[in-house]
């Protein structure tokens, strides 16, 4: 499954280079974590107005040792984290990273991050372009989430 996705990614990025710079970014934020927490999570919504799929292969930041993409899966009540090879923003569509779903896993913060702090991350796209995004550190409450996420 993963392999298949990887193959199709390789194919689609060969057509016409889709520009990473055309991605729209909304609601880019990092969850404020307990002091000393070794891993944080980042979320955002990316919009792709173009007609080509855009794949994001990696992310980096001076504020973290490394960054991975993960998906929290609830499999019959068991919580599983699946590592994702890349993030895919569909042509003319959106990709949403949100609590309990796809997220950026931010390993080993190099400074204490508190609500209100800003963190810049660089996303590397499949065509070797990069995109800098500023994330705001927020204190997150599940209570807010209950009221704000009515799909």
């Amino acid at each position: 499954m993963i392999l298949l996705l990887a193959l199709t990614a390789a194919c689609s990025s060969n057509d016409e280079p889709a520009s990473c710079a055309q991605l729209s970014v909304e609601d880019a934020w990092i969850r404020e974590a307990p002091p000393g927490a070794p891993v944080l999570a980042g979320y955002m919504q990316l919009g792709n107005p173009g007609s080509n799929t855009i794949d994001i292969l990696s992310a980096s930041s001076a504020d973290f040792e490394r960054i991975e993409f993960h998906h929290t899966l609830n499999e019959n009540g068991g919580m599983r984290m699946q590592a994702l090879e890349f993030l895919r923003v569909p042509a003319g569509g959106k990709l949403t990273l949100s609590p309990g779903a796809q997220h950026m896993m931010l390993f080993t913060p190099t400074r204490a991050l508190r609500a209100g702090d800003k963190v810049t991350m660089t996303l590397m796209c499949a065509n070797n372009e990069s995109l800098d995004i500023v994330y705001e550190v927020r204190r997150y409450s599940a209570e807010q989430d209950d009221h704000s996420h009515h799909h």
């Binding site: 307990p34 009540g77 068991g78 309990g100 209570e143 209950d146």
Partner: protein, 219 residues
Amino acid sequence: MSKNPLSNPVLLLASTLAGGALFLGIWSWQQWLQNTQGRSQPQALAATVLSEPRPLPDVSLVDQDGNTRALRQLEMGWSLWFFGFTHCPDICPNTLGLLAAIKQSMANDAAGRKIQTVFVSVDPQRDTPEKLRAYIDYFDKESVGLTGSREAIDALTSSLYLPYVIHAPDEHGDYNVEHSGALVLVGPDNTARAYFTAPHKRADLIHDLRLLTGDSPDA
């Protein structure tokens, strides 16, 4: 694409086996729940209520202050237990934040009942009592963090039918832990009373907790 952790056949196999083990464990938990839940299960509850309270196992864990806590001698009233680990940036903070909000709502209503949060780390190798304390204090300073020997943790998780799987470390030495998203309601007599399965809804939890903790003679 060379960084794909799933491209290593050994890791892939290990990961598949581990995932299968968790699935099997959860499947048997669900079978068990179906067989043991009370016949008088009120239809309106999101919780699965056990027909007979299930005593916590006769083992001790270590709390966030380093104190040994015998699970059959806890004196914390009603409590909601969640199992996870602190290297968990998404689902564990979601759940602990939710539990803190629920506790506040319950304390503020007419009955004013306190539902203690208990967070059990199944990752004692990384989660020392000090780390556990920093982690849980952030959400709720009154909550209790527990961890301990692998044997004691396993006695508890298998007694509650809540499997977890610790994966092999990756090239950075990091490893992932799969765990149940369920919450267990434990009564003041240290018996498991009911389960809530993920995803959790705040309103459902509060509704059920009011009913489940309200009419107990020992509450």
